[in-house]
Subunit: 234 residues, 2 copies
């Protein structure tokens, strides 16, 4: 079997498996993006989260939230209200922590060159210890303030998903164009190499945004996401 057929087989296997996440389905806010990637022959997604607010009941000393012994007191992909957290905190026995986890996406690709856009992690999170051995360490006023911050991050996160989706569309359209007109490709490659040598991490974002989306030019953080790569060979 050639490499391309092998990748197709692997993709089919992975996409036909049951969704093993707690939720059991792709989050609403990234369904379109995930479906878009999975229609492309060279990609498939292996996991994603649109972004969520979590309340975890962790170990006794507030230090390490180990997966095996941490309880999920609350999880939501929508804005969250103080009362929901107050009620959930009552069930905490150990050290409860409120987290905001932004958009995350893992993508497998057939060729290394496609890995430029693959796997995305955002940098704007929250991780706030709230209780110690079941005792609340903050006021209700603080929880209200904190949820305001978390909900704003959730809102901004949604915008970033949209921007990423738009940029991805542009990039893949451009790639299709490039394949039809190889001269453009040459130009792109040299620009890309230049970015890479200044800042390898940022370059990944720039290779999507810089040339394709003028509105992002003044954004210091580009897409506001880190892009990492999982080419098929690794």
């Amino acid at each position: 079997m050639d490499r391309s057929a092998e990748f197709r087989k692997w993709k089919a296997q992975c996409l036909s498996k049951a969704d093993l996440s707690r939720k059991g389905s792709v989050d609403k806010d990234v369904v379109e993006l995930v479906q878009f990637l999975n229609t492309r022959d060279q990609f498939f997604t292996t996991s994603s989260c649109a972004g969520r607010i979590l309340l975890l009941d962790g170990g006794i000393n507030g230090f390490e939230v180990q997966k095996q012994n941490c309880g999920w007191l609350l999880v939501t992909h929508k804005p969250c209200e103080k009362d929901d957290v107050i009620v959930a905190l009552k069930k905490a026995n150990g050290d409860a922590t409120l987290k905001f986890e932004p958009f995350i996406l893992h993508v497998q690709c057939q060729q290394l060159q496609d890995a430029r856009i693959l796997a995305v992690r955002s940098t704007h999170g929250l991780e706030v210890p709230l209780s110690h051995k079941g005792k609340l360490m903050v006021t209700e006023e603080y929880i209200d303030f904190l949820l305001n911050v978390a909900n704003q991050k959730m809102e901004e996160n949604k915008k970033r998903i949209e921007r990423f989706y738009n940029c991805l569309h542009h990039a893949l359209e451009r790639e299709t164009m490039t394949n039809l007109h190889p001269k453009i490709k040459e130009k792109n490659n040299s620009s890309y190499t230049h970015n890479k040598q200044r800042n390898p991490e940022k370059a990944h974002a720039q290779c999507i945004t810089k040339e394709n989306d003028k509105e992002l030019e003044n954004d210091d953080d580009d897409l506001g996401i880190n892009i990492t790569i999982f080419p098929e060979g690794y």
Copy 2:
């Protein structure tokens, strides 16, 4: 110039440049690791942080700490005491946030195969809004509790750096051995491919730890770090 010579030239250029970080030097706890990587022909480091506790004075609504308008009220690579934070918080005008940022390391490599170990990010952080428009939103008791958590994370982070350094040593020694005895290589590759298909992200950590370090076998989190790759071609 061949690819290898080009990489050497690029490495020499990068390493001869002034350190543009605020601190202006490599953090003590990662000096040995950074030096070790830079002695290898196939690698060089582009940035690193051993882990730090930061207090930032952010924008007015506590939402986005933009680099251009955020003030660093406090930064330390050592355990931190409550009074240091209390004093520093008095200088806050906006929304101050306490962060613990764990070990981070960016490495460039000459060949894709070396990228398996490159660029490391740890997952155990803290990001805690403490004040709003200059007004403290938590008690001193909470700050004490929070710093206890942060300092424990700092301690754990140090151990993870040591484990990573040890694992890296093992992996590179093994690689040298493998190059001398190609039969071992074949065995390693098949094991690696198997890991990859289950979980591409975790596989990166496992390819270092799984075979080389028995003490890590029961650690659900492997090294407790995410490994991402920046091969030279990207």
